[in-house]
Symmetry: C2
Subunit: 261 residues, 2 copies
DNA sequence: CGGCGGTTAAGTGTCGACATTAAGCCTTCG
DNA sequence: CGAAGGCTTAATGTCGACACTTAACCGCCG
């Protein structure tokens, strides 16, 4: 890693209580989309990868936790070969570190890496948003409405989990509409890495409101076919999200330089 | 894939004669950087993955070719397990397709996907170039000069291979300077996919000249600390490269819609 | 003579075992 | 009393084997 401070999510804050089954199911679905992609057949390794991945995303496994392959093979009643493959799948997605000859661990994201991820996501999503505003059919843009309404509903109920997942679906629909599978894959992969922190970022006071407002304005930009504004909104939203994340992640490391790169 | 026309590179044109050892070594080095990353220990699987990957990039294995794991295990005097891992590594980099229960094959890029890749690369590289122009130290920017001179030398000699690799190194140095490992990884991965076509694109008449000119101007923009210009140059260069690639890849599929989507 | 169904060969997914290596523990020495 | 070094344990990397699936080949029937 050799990056700056490493982030601890669950262990310190003790945020995730046990296992919110509904949220876990959502996480599972998202990971299935990313990991299994078009693996229609529910193969053994992808099933295992999805489940372990969901556990990581849901914070049931803390960063740095060992992922003992023999223990996992016992748990899934299988041999170690599929487990190894599953862990390497998750390594590709950045959820697991598999150092040679050492035990695989849940990947610990450094704050610097989170910054990088947000910048990359912003750059690619600007492209997506501009494409949607410019080229998408009216029907496609209209199809975003229900997702926005789900976000609104969750926001009004103050339901953090529901808001996060509605938000994820909103973005997912965007990438679908833009019809750029390459960028979609990259964004999905980056999303998976940061999913662990989404809840944290959005739980900051006022953050959910701000996020929801941003998406309302984005929707309007789409409907006005204003691709420049759409891209600018995406950029602004990502900058704000990152700032709020930094605020609640590294309140102590004030010694670190403030420059955003 | 379900994309549009699939591209055949080597088989039809018969471009790569046998195995240019120097170029092959360069390919191997690049793939090692991408695949092995920080795997200091030359592990068995990464060695195999690098070699097979280099063969694909160098066009020694045509898209669609079978990658029989038992045959490969014979060739590398090993069991099938490391071969499988190596192939899945290459699948992650987009060089190999591993359909479930079917033989792995050398991935065949569709023209639509190439378009997507160029757009994604352009978006991310704009970010990198802007960062370099804005934040890099004078020494870092100066370190790009020798690489540019290598490009010039290759250009003057009309040495296509040398130019391609000098170009790759120039870009690599850029990503290093920008110090964003996340984006660097993504760009490297995208690079690997398109490396097979670089030669094709640059062999178009006048293309090498144009590319070289672009890089000269980029260098000036860096030295003038003009981040907007640097980003614009990157965008322009990628658009031109893609256009030239499309021109020589799909001369027949005139029925395909021209929109760059 | 061509299309279709069964048969055979080849290849993949998974398994359990073995050699090798890293981490933990205990002993011993400074 | 603390630290360094060897020993023990446990986990990984690799292997060869087996069952199942796919695909190719062949004969059969229309």
């Amino acid at each position: 890693m050799s990056h700056g401070a490493v982030i601890e999510t669950t262990t310190r804050a003790g945020r995730m209580p046990a296992r919110d089954e509904r949220s876990f199911g959502q996480a599972l679905a998202v990971i299935q989309r990313v990991v299994a992609e078009r693996n229609d057949r529910p193969s053994l390794v992808s099933r295992i990868a999805c489940e372990i991945g969901a556990e990581i995303v849901e914070g049931l496994r803390a960063p740095g936790d060992d992922l003992n392959s023999v223990e996992l093979s016992r748990r899934y009643r299988t041999s170690r070969t599929p487990i190894r493959e599953a862990l390497m799948l998750l390594e590709k997605e950045g959820l697991v570190d598999v150092p040679p000859r050492r035990r695989p661990r849940v990947a610990a994201l450094a704050i610097d890496e989170v910054r990088e991820i947000y910048r990359a996501r912003a750059a690619l999503f600007e492209l997506i948003a501009a494409d949607v505003a410019r080229d998408a059919s009216d029907a496609d843009i209209a199809s975003l409405r229900p997702l926005l309404e789900r976000m609104e509903l969750a926001y009004r109920h103050g339901d953090l989990n529901a808001y996060v997942w509605a938000n994820v679906e909103f973005y997912d629909r965007n990438t679908q509409i833009a019809n750029n599978r390459t960028i979609k894959r990259i964004l999905d992969s980056l999303l998976l890495k940061t999913l662990r922190f989404r809840r944290l970022s959005l739980s900051q006071p006022g953050r959910m409101q701000k996020s929801y407002d941003d998406h309302i304005r984005l929707m309007r930009a789409y409907e006005d076919r204003d691709s420049n504004l759409a891209a600018a909104l995406i950029r602004s939203n990502h900058i704000n999200a990152l700032a709020s994340l930094e605020a609640c992640l590294a309140p102590k490391t004030s010694s670190a330089r403030q420059t955003s790169r």
